[in-house]
Subunit: 397 residues, 2 copies
């Protein structure tokens, strides 16, 4: 199968591209390198040094992998996107190419507008390109569990059967997202569902939990193939940050009471879920939604799991929550569709954390401690640029 | 009360501005005149000649109305929007300033992207401006009944109480919009509801039915105060088009089987609904939704009402439906909130239609018959520009 990975230079895009290639698919990657530019803007960076995309691709090929094509450009540039799809002729397009940090979208008006425009226009352009070039191309789109918010009912996989005043319908699951970033993904989902109805597009929307871990079989094979390890408060995910705080002997900073519960997933399961979705495409006209998560855990439980696994870890402290969210809430997530396709989940374990601790320890001198402190506050509508440079929190998926 | 009307030069914005002024409010209007530019693009125009905004404002004042301030600019230009709000110091902002034609948004990729960007960014900028300048300003936002689609359950006013697997929640009513335009309004609603949660904004979302009629007490007072009368297949609304076809002796063109049912409203009720919403603001943090419609009617019923009212009207013909929509569907709309605030609806009647027939007859020589024919097809992902100039259909709200 020919698979084009949009955002193929990113934290998850790059491991996914290699994983699909290792599993016998012909892979192309598209990226505009803006994730690397955000690091310059924020004064942040990956804990683990990463190579350029050109080097990554050369090493992958030199080590015996199938050649991976690469296209440099931006989805907002429709000419580029159409030309790329015409050139690569994919069967499937995996779409990771969105601004994906909730705190980044909440910095100020410009970052909110940028996030929604970048994500919504990129996806609209993709829909039109597929609509005009080949409507059989299967679009596998990365969404997030954060789109749902914390409803008081169980979270089904994208659709909900409801009965109201004696009549029934199947509707898109009502969402209550918690940031302008999460909202952008809700907008995408509505646009894509419409594309399935009017043009018969084939779409799989993967509502992914918060990803933890940094190694897959492919990234671990050569230090030049590693992927990013973000730990800063804007782009870092919460478990990765807790692991770093433990290794450095810093207090594990839980925002708010800590009973807020997240859907989470191991990076090795992420790449497998994408493969499973690609290999069993949605039907023509089908808007299919999978909850791409394997377990749920409260922030406090995550912190305790980390301190229990790392001998000598410092204590857990609670900071004022920079987000506006309900802390004590029902959170029950249905996630059977990917397991029905064959996923065997890796659940959070000491083994995984131990391998992360080793990676962190090797690179401990690269940690910027200021970047661990949250600087973006949901209640403010504008944040001074200086706050951003100090870092802020990202726990969403 | 100081009320700023965004889009105050448009079909509904202008009558609303005068109506609010006549009811004792201090009114300002904001417009970038893009609605007049669409006419140049499409080769269309109002059946009834309209004056420039400058002339309208001068006539309004000369005839004894309170002076209405005017600001020329675009909501996408945040500097302009912030400066305007700081200068006018409104208590309430009525937001009509969006691209509002479903067929226009479906012309091609560029028009879809333009519609979503214009509408979503304009509203995001407005939310941030209110969030940063004065969070007590009440935002009264025009939505559309078309956001809901045609669910098989009754359409409640924006929110829905649901029970699922024994647990209950109150959620945003799940929507299934029928065009990229309608989708843009769904995106706006999600963004605004989030603004209420994080910043305590006061928002009223008016999900308006398809508006018919062209006269209010204020527009009828002087020919220089009239508002637009759109009849072309892109911007014209369905009842106005049927009335023109009747007067000209043309067949009334129903798209598809005609059992598709729309929520409708008289233009005189539109301006009163906006006044009622302004005068009873939403609470701080409240995202309040009203279904701004007074009755529902199928396309065939609308056509029959017109032919029954106009002696000598031609017959009804059915054309292939350019839209993708379900034709036979449940459609039951709750619309009690505005009536509870005091609305006394004008229902569709012979009296109203007779006054419209007179206006049309006066201007019958200005009708471009080609503009009545639909040119935008939902199933195509791109339409040649030449089709657009020939016109296309707009029946949505």
């Amino acid at each position: 199968m020919r698979i084009l990975v949009l955002g193929g230079d990113g934290y998850l895009g790059w491991p996914t591209a290699m994983y699909l290639s290792a599993n016998g698919h012909q892979v192309g990657v598209v990226d505009n390198m803006v994730r690397r530019a955000y690091d310059h803007e924020l004064g942040s960076g990956s804990l683990v040094p990463i190579e350029t995309l050109a080097t990554r691709l050369a090493v992958w090929h030199d080590r015996g992998g199938d050649s991976i094509s690469s296209y440099y450009g931006d989805l907002v540039d429709s000419d580029f996107l159409y030309a790329t799809i015409r050139d690569f002729e994919p069967d499937t397009i995996v779409h990771f190419a969105e601004q994906r940090a909730a705190p980044y979208s909440m910095i100020d008006r410009k970052h909110a507008v940028y996030t929604q425009m970048n994500n919504v226009v990129g996806t609209l352009n993709l829909m039109y390109a597929v609509g005009e070039i080949d409507r059989d191309i299967h679009i596998v789109k990365l969404g997030t569990m954060g789109e749902y918010g914390t409803p008081n009912i169980d979270i089904e996989e994208g659709w909900l059967d409801i009965t109201h005043k004696g009549r029934s319908d199947r509707v898109l699951f009502p969402k209550r997202p918690g940031s302008f970033y999460h909202l952008s993904k809700v907008h995408d989902s509505h646009n894509l569902e419409f594309g399935c109805r009017i043009w018969g597009l084939r779409v799989t929307d993967l509502n992914q939990g918060v990803v933890y871990g940094q190694e897959t079989e492919q990234t671990a094979a050569d230090p030049r193939l590693v992927t990013r390890f973000d730990y800063d408060a804007v782009f870092g995910t919460v478990l990765n940050r807790f692991a770093i705080q433990a290794v450095l002997g810093l207090p594990l900073t839980v925002y708010g009471g800590g009973s807020q519960t997240r859907a989470i997933i191991d990076i090795r399961d992420t790449v497998e879920c994408v493969r499973l979705a690609c290999q069993s495409p949605a039907a023509a006209g089908e808007f299919r939604v999978f909850n791409q998560t394997t377990e749920t855990m409260s922030l406090t439980e995550m912190a305790k799991t980390v301190t229990n696994s790392f001998p000598g870890a410092s204590s857990i402290v609670h900071l004022e929550n920079p987000r506006v969210e309900i802390e004590d809430h029902h959170f029950s997530v249905v996630h059977t569709a990917l397991e029905d396709l064959g996923l065997s989940p890796h659940l959070l374990s000491d083994t995984l954390l131990t391998s992360m601790f080793d990676i962190i320890d090797q690179h401990r001198d690269r940690v910027d401690r200021n970047a661990l402190t949250p600087g973006v506050n949901w209640r403010a509508s504008a944040n001074a640029a200086s706050h951003v440079a100090q870092g802020s929190e990202y726990v969403g998926g």
